[in-house]
Structure formats: C-alpha cells, structure tokens
Symmetry: C2
Subunit: 521 residues, 2 copies
Amino acid sequence: MNTPLTPLDLIRRGLNIYPDKTAVIQPGGPSFTYRQWGGRIYQLARAVQAAGFAGRHVAVLSPNTHGGLLTYSAVPWAGSVLVPLNTRLTGEEYAFQLRHAEVKLLLVDETLHARVEQAALDLGIEVWVLGEGEAGAAFEARLAAQDDAPLPLPVTDEDATLTINFTSGTTSSPKGVMLTHRNCFLNAIETIYYFKADQDSVYLHTLPDFHANGWGGVWSPFGVGATHVTLPAVRADAAYDAIETYGVTHLCAAPTVLSMLTNPEQARTLTRPVRVATAGSPPHARTIADMNALGFHVTQVYGLTEVSPLVTVAELSAAQEALPTTERAPLIAKQGFEMILAGEVDVMDEHLTPTPHDGTTLGEIMVRGNLVMKGYYRNPDATAKALEGGWFHTGDVAVTYPDGRIEIKDRNKDVIISGGENISSVEIEGILYAHPAVREAVVVAMPDDKWGEVPCAFIALHGGKEAGPDELSAHVRAHLAGFKVPKHYEFRDDLPKTASGKFQKFILRNEVWQGQDRKVN
Amino acid sequence: MNTPLTPLDLIRRGLNIYPDKTAVIQPGGPSFTYRQWGGRIYQLARAVQAAGFAGRHVAVLSPNTHGGLLTYSAVPWAGSVLVPLNTRLTGEEYAFQLRHAEVKLLLVDETLHARVEQAALDLGIEVWVLGEGEAGAAFEARLAAQDDAPLPLPVTDEDATLTINFTSGTTSSPKGVMLTHRNCFLNAIETIYYFKADQDSVYLHTLPDFHANGWGGVWSPFGVGATHVTLPAVRADAAYDAIETYGVTHLCAAPTVLSMLTNPEQARTLTRPVRVATAGSPPHARTIADMNALGFHVTQVYGLTEVSPLVTVAELSAAQEALPTTERAPLIAKQGFEMILAGEVDVMDEHLTPTPHDGTTLGEIMVRGNLVMKGYYRNPDATAKALEGGWFHTGDVAVTYPDGRIEIKDRNKDVIISGGENISSVEIEGILYAHPAVREAVVVAMPDDKWGEVPCAFIALHGGKEAGPDELSAHVRAHLAGFKVPKHYEFRDDLPKTASGKFQKFILRNEVWQGQDRKVN
C-alpha cells in the first residue's frame, strides 16, 4: 500500500507523537511546542489557500528565523511549491529568479524587504512580510485569522515538485532545481541516520535554510521530535551562546563557519559534544583538529542542490575514529563513500566507465538514483545536458582510492565555491563584458584562506580605455551579490585562446593554482 | 530521477563499498568477504536463471545457515520471487504452501529435506539441496559452474513482489503475504536507523530468517557493511559463544529466546554491550531487567508480516533511559510509537476513528502506508477484508496512553503467538474436527511461562465416543507442526454458543485468562 514519500509525513509524525516537546526556539525570540508549531503550519497553509495561492509558486526570502522555517512546511501543506531565495542577492538577481520561477506570492523577512520590494512590485507579486516588527504583527494577525486545526496531508504524488532552489551552476543564468517530495524525503531520512538524530537532538540552524533546504534540515529534525534552534545571524558568539543555552547536539556548516568557530578569539570549549556535518569544500586538517579539540565531532558530507543535496559521507570505522587526528583528518578530508540512500555515486570517464580505484585517475563524479532532481525548471536543454546518459553530471572532478573513498581534485572550471556559496564565473564574466572598457574577461576560482575560493578576473581592456579594480568591482556590485565580486584582478594585453578563438581558461586557472595538489579549496 | 527502492540496492552498496570486509560467518563453518559473497549471489542468480526459473516462484526451507541467507539476495537477483518456508511444519503443511504459492523450485537444507521431499515430488517441484554434506557439494558445484561477475540489478518495478511469506493469521489456511521491494527496502532502512547499525556492526541471526525475512535482517546489515553471523540452531551456549567469538553487537529475538539467554544456568555477562530488538509478545519486566544486568540493551518493536514487519518501537528518551529498571521496564514493555518509516499507526474503533489517548479505551491497531503489504497471494477476499477502509487491520487490540504510547491488551481471538510463532486457532480446530470423536472444538490462547502463549483446546465429544488429550494431540501432530499442538485440553458437555449457534470464544478465553490484566503474553 503506497502512500507518498514526502517530508511532510515527517512533520505529521513529529506533531502527532511529540505534541508537548519544544519544536522550535529562536534565541531572544519566541519558542513553540510541536502542538503550537503544528497550529502555525495549518494556519499559514490555510492563509496561503485563502489568498488564492494554493498550487502556485510561493517564494521565501528570509534569514534563519522561525518564520522562515515555518514556510518550508506550511507552503507545501497549502499544496503550493516553495521557492527559497538566497539572502545575499541584488534586486536584479531576485527579479530574474522570481520571474523565472513564476512566483505569485513572496514571504519576505522585514530585514530583506527593501532589496526585493521593487522586483516584486514590477512583477505583480503579492508580498507578506515576516518579522518581529509592525509588519510581522500583520503576518501574525493573518495567521491568527485562520483555524489551527490539522489539515490532512496535501500530497498525492511523491514525484511532484516540492521546492525550486536556484543554483548558480555553470551558466550565466541561475537554474531552478526542481526537487520532489520523494527526493527530499529520502535525503531527510538519510541525514537522520547519519546524524544519529533522535528526540533528544537539538539542531542549530547555522547553515542557511535556503541552501538546498538546509540540506534537509528544515524538515528532518521534526521527524524524530528534535528541537530546532533558529539563528538569524551566524556569528561565533551567538552560535556558542545557543549551543550552551539550549544544549545543541547537531549543526551543519560550511568550512568557513568552522573556521569562525575555531578562531581562537571566539572559540569556546564545549561542555557536551556536538556533531557537525560540513560540506561545500573540504575542511582543512587543521580546522578538523581544532574542532575536535573544542569538542565538535566533524563529518564531511558532499553534495549539490541537484542531488537533494547529500550523496557522499566521509564515513569512518570505529578503528579509524580511534586514530590520532593527524591520521584521521586526511580520511575526513576526502568526500568518502556514497550514502545509503544516495543511489549510485561513481567517478567516471566521459564514456560513463568508472575510473580505476587508484587514487590518481581523474574522472567526473556522477550520481544516479532517487536523490537526483526532477530537472531544471523551464530549462529542458540544461536538464537534458545535466542528465546525459542517465547520470547526473556533477562537474566535480575526482579520484577514487583503493579503499573506495572519493576525493574531489578539481571542479568544473566555471564554478567557484566561496564561503559555501556557488558562484558562476560565466555570470560574472557577462557583467564584466557590460563595462565599456572591457574587451575580454575570464573569471576563475582562486584559493583563499578565509573563503576557500574567491573569484579572480583576468581582463584585457579596449585600446585607449582604462578601468582599474575598484571601478570594475563597483560595476559588478551594482548588478550581482557582493560575494560574487572578484577579489583579485589581473590585467593582460590578450587572454590565451585556442586556434578557434575559445578562451583557454585552464591556463589561467593553472597560473592561479600553481603549487596546489588539487584545484579546489 | 527515480530508481526502484529495493533491498537489493542495499546489497549492491555493501558489495561495492566494503569488498574486503567480512560479510557472513557461520560458526564452525565458512566465512565470506563481501567480494566472495557477491560472487556467490551472482552465481546462484545465474544458476536459477540457467535452470529456467527466472521470474518464477522459488521457495527456501532452511535454518539460519549461510546457504539459506544467500537465497534472500540471489533468488530476487535472478528476477524471481522468494517464498521462505517455516522450518517447523509438516509435509502436509508444506504441500499446501508450495502449491498455493505456485513454487517451481525449492532450495532446501539437507536437515529438512526429508520433511518436504514427498510434497515436492507430488507437485513436480525441482529441488536443490543446500548444506555441508554430499548434497551441499552438488549445490556448490552448481554455483561453481556459473560466472561470479556482477549482474545488474534486476528490479524495474519497486512495487513488484519480492517475497511471499506465509502467515497463520486468523483463518484455517495460511495466507501468503506479498511484500514488495519498496515495502522491504523501507523496513530495512528503518531498522538500520533504529538499530544504529553501521560498518562496525556484527549481527547474530537468532531470529529465524523465514520470519518476515528476519524482520529485514536478511538484507539490512549488508547495506551498511556489517557482518552477519548465521546460527542454524539457537541455543544459549551457541549464541553466547558467537557473541564472544565474533564481537556480536546486535541481535533480534522473541521473548522466549531472551528467557533462554537469561536462564541462570546458561547466562553469561557480556564483555561488550549488545543491542537486542524483541517482538512477538511483550517482554516481561523481569526479563528486561535480567537482560540489562547481563549487558544487553533491549528495545521492544512491534509488527506483523503484513507490515513488512516492524511498525512501532518502544522508544525511550535519554531521560527515560536513565530511569531505574523498575520505572524503565514498563515503558519498554509497551509497544510504543509509530516508527519513522511506518506510515501511520493508530488505535481505532470500528468506524476508523482514533480512540482517546486515555490508556483505557480499547481499539484495534491499524496501519496505513508504505510498509503495508501488497496483499495476500491468490486471496483477494482476505486482502480486501484486511485492508478495509484503506487501513490494514492488525487484529491486535490496544490502548493509547496520554504520552502517545500504544499498548496491546488483547488480540484477535483467533491468533495465538507461541514462542514467536503465529498460530491460527481456526486451523487447529479444523484438524480437531477431523477426529471421529470430536463434536465441538474451540481453541484459544493460554498464557504460558515459557512460550508466552500456548494453544488450549475446549472439546465436546460425540455421545458414546472417547478420546483423551494424548490421542487428540497425536492426531493434531500428524497434520500440523508440533508447536501448534494444544498443550492443554478441557472437556465439556457443550461449549457456550450464541442464540444463533455461534461459539462464544470470548467466554472460554476469559476463563483461561482470569486474573490477568491483559490477554496477551
């Protein structure tokens, strides 16, 4: 007897079994029992329906607040598709995503409202403001006007789209990744298993919820009756305060955040161990050692939005866990093995033949199975290309070791991962070309101690024109999110090209990555 | 991108990631690495195909040997449906099940061959004998004749039948429960989570593998790279020897086996903790306390073959785990909460309305969702009845407490659970009626210290005829498995009936269960 696999069933279970447990706490803000949280889900779902947005696309733009978290359950419960937006974009970027995803209603935190107001107005999108202020009070009134009695699960098709998450990918326009209920359910179950989450878990939202739905963390803790601690601004002191105050047991974060937590000026030794999953770039051995010394247990996972997102884990046996940090850290630093619900994850050559497990032969990480997205919204060409041959092409270049562990050595030349955010070099290049002085522009990833990688721009100017780094950065910042602005510029007379006139990006990348044993950081 | 949910994908993952780990050990027998085990799976799958049984129904009759365990992966890998048979039945019972399930090939352990030989002959079923002896050598030769190279996963439809498991249920004829790949996959994932199984786990097969596929234990440990220890004969000394020798971390068993392990003459204190899942009947507080004292960590789970089989768990919070045994045992003794992949589990009245959570109102445990069987093989009427109103009717009568825990108080009056085996009272009654001296026969469950419950027969004889307990028992034994033979007889002139002549079984059950606070043991 099949019933749809959906993360909403995890919410249903949590509400049903743990009504008196604390579901959500926002430090310095309100907290909610599962019963209260359920009431809010049903109220917001009814409000969305009452306003005529059932079955429509509803975007959310919010830091990690309780209000933002609520939308991940309530909007799908209204029968609508959720479109989570990155909190660090420009009005121009928001306009593109809202239009492309055909959003009809936007739920926006009051702190971000100004950035998206014009775009929403231009597109005729209804806006509801979340927050603690006056606007937030209107939202609360909107909820209070609705019945808080349970609504039945709205899902009839587990392959229906649950969320559309934008990813930078390799092209100039962000792509809307359609994740299904089945995708997100299986990812959530997988994380519950690897995280050893249960009703005693307290999950701190240090990872932005809009990042592939917080790697599933916007749903999974509810399934086991755990407590969510929302954290609107990720600062070391706020994170440590929350860990101590609420007995946090789990968190997820990009290595940049781990570096912040291990910063000697802010680091605190934990009184209880905390499990940490990290992804986005491989954590440095030093960071792992520092985290361990403070009482964090770090596991590296790997994935992409297109695979729901987690597909490998740097799993260690008990014997490997007992090794000294110096021997253990290199194992944790690899991306590891396919996770139990990931389907098949393999490193393959261009003919889809697995590469030998020799630790040296490069291939591309490919994924096949139930975590792979339904496709890119309104982009059948990109979908077909990404899923060519029946495998999802990650663009990440890796080796497989004799013990089966996968390690990323390089990635698609057009992707830069900076502080956990994916950046498309092609998108930045497009903006640079719009500057009247720029004749040629190539952007590549450059290793950076703080951010992992940052964009580096190689520029050839038009004859007789001048433009320095500051002017070009101001130009990019006018169109794109700040984290996409090149941190370094190299000016050349000409950029290297093939005989047919194609840029030889790899030559410029090699220049920047000289002396590194791999081209990811 | 959907790929079929199937336990075979867990096998694939294990073979792929842990080739050099030990997959299976049989104490005093061979052991196999994952690579070797994979080779044997592919060889047996090819042998089944080569003999023309791909897509057909293949039965297995075996104690918990490595050969028996192999069939749970290899037969489905041949594209065939596996029919696991109870090892304790008579030739007559085997004949019924083999015929009803349309079995074409039987894999039988040499120790059980004699019992089923005639039935297989009569039905024209091909027989392959497993074992260590001469017959076993022929089986090994059959494997060796086949290529051990990987075969692709054969599953194209996750809703296809994976196994047909016979259950006694409430009618005179056993019913063949069709479990799908999806059913068994989700059950396996669920047990991996609740068991906290991983690559360091060592799983001892104390539970008969034919019991609902060993609660999924014939597949799930492979998914995480754990080691299986097969145990053909479950005796306390053999179990303790295996636990010590192989570092067993997990086992499953009916409370009867727990009582055996805690028998002071045989009990041993563990040097490492072992997780135990128990089901079949609620464990007694004393048994739990004794198990804890020896170093076992006991969790009660609940289920039935028809629900793949596990749907509730007596989950305890960390605070509850820390309680003294006297306060903890009553919590473990309840069936607990719906498991995370169980779908919905609720106690309901006859109108499918949930009963109040007051700890006193009786209702029937109902299950809806992805663990519920596809149906009974060739029995649409029984299927429709069992799934009436869209819920699977367990026949177990329970209350729900204010904290949401479910506790079974009674069960369908026609089911007796003895030493973990389900027995149909109706089936025994049918045999008793075939005795020339018997005029009326009603069989009910009777509490028993060793077996939990045993069948008790109320008999009214024909006038002028005589038959005592020994004669009736010999009669039943000639037709049915020994564990189904009534252990107690009550002779009456007449048995209580309604005005319309229907037996009032409840009156006889009440007699037998007088003074007990619930009618399950």
